[in-house]
């Protein structure tokens, strides 16, 4: 099992590789893009500067450092969609950053995938979770376009993941295991993520009114209110790692572009700990997962931020 870690700067390469990361992914929005479209129309679905690699010079250095550690680096161009004008800039950027040594591009937009397949067929494409491969046929759809690696949506059960992976044996699948669980389906969500306080519409506090079913809506309101009581950046699927490997998942993806370095390191170490425990035939990985969760976040896990709620035990 590979561990795919977010990364934002060159100084994180050694720290994360030492912690156990096998691969890295990050985002960079060029100065040209920022000036022309602004960060509110980011090319990579992160709309705040701290989630971006700071400069082209830094991007080059990061790639060199990652390759020096024998790890690969993938660049995100995973906005949900682009304007027609933006495709010209995107293709230029993909070509340029490929020459920097980017090993693959993480993409969801069909128009960009089609253009890259046509104009830059040698460039590797990974399908972002925004590609919404919820079933066997949708994974086969993108595979037929030359996409060899895909990230599952966050909302599939282990059984469902296994079914899709078994039916698409030539695809390399990633699954999220830590940080950043969305209340909504990211690939279908049209909320903006550009508030300066980094609190998104899905996690902010609302006042609720029952418009229909005044009595029965109480439970619904209570359930929806729960999202504002948890920190979705404390999401976890550590105890599912063994089952994910059995299901055919080849890489464990950690969310967290723009997150603090220390948290990235702690989380990579935890994932690596469970992977190693399983690889050495050690028992007790679920107990270890619960212990690691408490160590990282200081509180027990709960079903809202559990990546595989079917495994959650109170």
């Amino acid at each position: 099992m590979k561990i795919l870690s977010p990364i934002d700067k060159t100084s994180e390469v050694d720290l994360l590789a030492d912690a156990g990361a096998d691969e890295f992914y990050g985002g960079y929005v060029s100065e040209n893009w920022r000036g022309k479209y602004s960060m509110l129309s980011s090319a990579n679905h992160r709309y705040f500067p701290s989630a971006q690699i700071a400069s082209e010079k830094e991007l080059k250095a990061l790639i060199k450092s990652a390759h020096g550690r024998g790890t690969k680096f993938y660049l995100t161009f995973n906005a949900p969609y682009y304007s027609v004008e933006q495709y010209t800039d995107l293709l230029e950027d993909v070509e340029k950053y490929s020459a920097f040594g980017v090993d693959a591009f993480i993409i969801s937009d069909l128009g960009l995938i089609l253009r890259m397949r046509d104009k830059l067929p040698e460039v590797q494409i990974h399908l972002s979770t925004l590609g919404t491969i919820f079933n066997t046929e949708s994974a086969a759809f993108f595979h037929s376009l030359g996409v060899g690696r895909m990230v599952f949506p966050r909302e599939l059960t282990l059984k469902e993941i296994k079914g899709v992976a078994e039916a698409n044996p030539d695809v390399f699948f990633d699954a999220f295991v830590m940080i950043g669980k969305c209340p909504n389906i990211e690939g279908f969500c049209s909320f903006t993520h550009n508030s300066p306080d980094l609190i998104w519409p899905c996690e902010e506090k609302y006042s609720f009114n029952a418009l229909k079913g005044a009595k029965t809506a109480v439970a619904m309101i209570e359930a929806q209110t729960g999202w504002s009581r948890v920190n979705r950046r404390q999401a976890c699927g550590l105890c599912a790692i063994g089952a994910l490997e059995d299901a055919g998942v080849k890489a464990l993806k950690i969310v967290g572009r723009g997150g603090p370095t220390a948290m990235k390191v702690r989380v990579v170490k935890a994932v690596k700990g469970i992977v190693d425990l399983r690889a050495t035939g050690g028992n007790g990985s679920i107990e270890a997962a619960h212990r690691l969760y408490r160590e990282i976040f200081g509180n027990p896990c709960n079903p809202y931020v559990c990546y595989f709620p079917e495994l959650h035990t109170t």
Binding site: P183, G213, T216, A223
Partner: protein, 274 residues
């Protein structure tokens, strides 16, 4: 007084469609020539094969065409969707449209059910519809704003590819920041939904949460979506969010001016939240 078209110039005809999530909603059909029936957002709200066929017969009996709505699908949901399509195909209902919100379903239609006409659904049209968008529009240069005002389905490369699957129609919303689109040069037609604008959807359906787990992951029996609608208010938003089942909407009854000129020839009217 609205401007009249020059004498002899034919006004473009806009079809009116009625959105029905359940059979009992196929009523008061005067003025409508088409019924949208099914579920866009939840595979557990798809009709049974028998109910889908019944919807076909009812709408045909009323002289209306049928558009079947399908949601995003897991493998389990795909089996259920195929059963519905199989029932309609066996009954010879080859004149229906099927709205797809899942690329897997698009391939299934082309391979197994080529008699049906696929339509690109709202979940596969990625335009931002967040109620915060109007508040950020003036913070972007024009090329950035265009990303928010255009629905993201005007790329000739994408459209050409989707046409190989039979797509000739796309389903659009009228978001709070407005919509600008010109489908005509692309050889597409558009439908625009009113008044409920899709915003987001989840599998963590609060109507299916029993305090410990979400039944929407395994097969929802609570069906709270049929009983409850809630409003989520936040002062940072231009409009309140309306939530039914697993899906959130904003209400916007304002349609863009000159929709026929945009290539939109159908209005899909929702009498209640989907």
């Amino acid at each position: 007084m609205p401007a009249m078209p020059p004498r002899g110039l034919k006004m473009p005809k806009v079809e009116k469609a009625l959105y029905a999530s359940a059979l009992k909603q196929i009523k008061n059909t005067k003025g409508y020539t088409r019924v949208y029936f099914g579920a866009e957002f939840c595979q557990w709200r798809m009709p049974s094969p028998a109910a889908a066929l019944r919807a076909y017969y009812i709408s045909s009996g009323l002289g209306m065409k049928l558009t079947l709505l399908t949601p995003w699908l897991t493998d389990t949901g795909m089996k259920r969707a195929k059963a519905i399509l199989g029932k309609l195909a066996d009954a010879g209902a080859g004149d229906i449209e099927v709205v797809v919100n899942d690329f897997g379903m698009l391939t299934v239609l082309r391979m197994d059910f080529p008699m049906f006409t696929p339509v690109l659904g709202r979940l596969l049209v990625k335009q931002k519809r967040c109620p915060r968008v109007p508040g950020i529009m003036d913070r972007m240069p024009e090329p950035g704003r265009e990303v928010y005002t255009h629905p993201g389905i005007e790329d000739p490369v994408t459209v050409s590819f989707l046409k190989r699957f039979g797509i000739r129609r796309v389903e659009l919303d009228s978001p709070l920041q407005g919509i600008e689109v010109n489908l005509k040069p692309l050889g597409l037609k558009g439908s625009i939904y009113t008044p409920y604008v899709y915003v987001t959807t989840t599998r963590h359906c609060p109507s299916s949460f029993d305090g410990k787990s979400w039944q929407a992951f395994v097969g929802c029996k609570l069906k709270g979506c049929l009983k409850n609608v809630i409003e989520l208010d936040n002062p940072a938003h231009e409009a309140g969010i309306l939530m039914r089942g697993n899906t959130q909407f904003v209400e916007n009854a304002v349609l863009p001016e000159g929709i026929a000129g945009m290539g939109i020839d159908r209005i899909v009217h929702m009498e209640e939240l989907p």
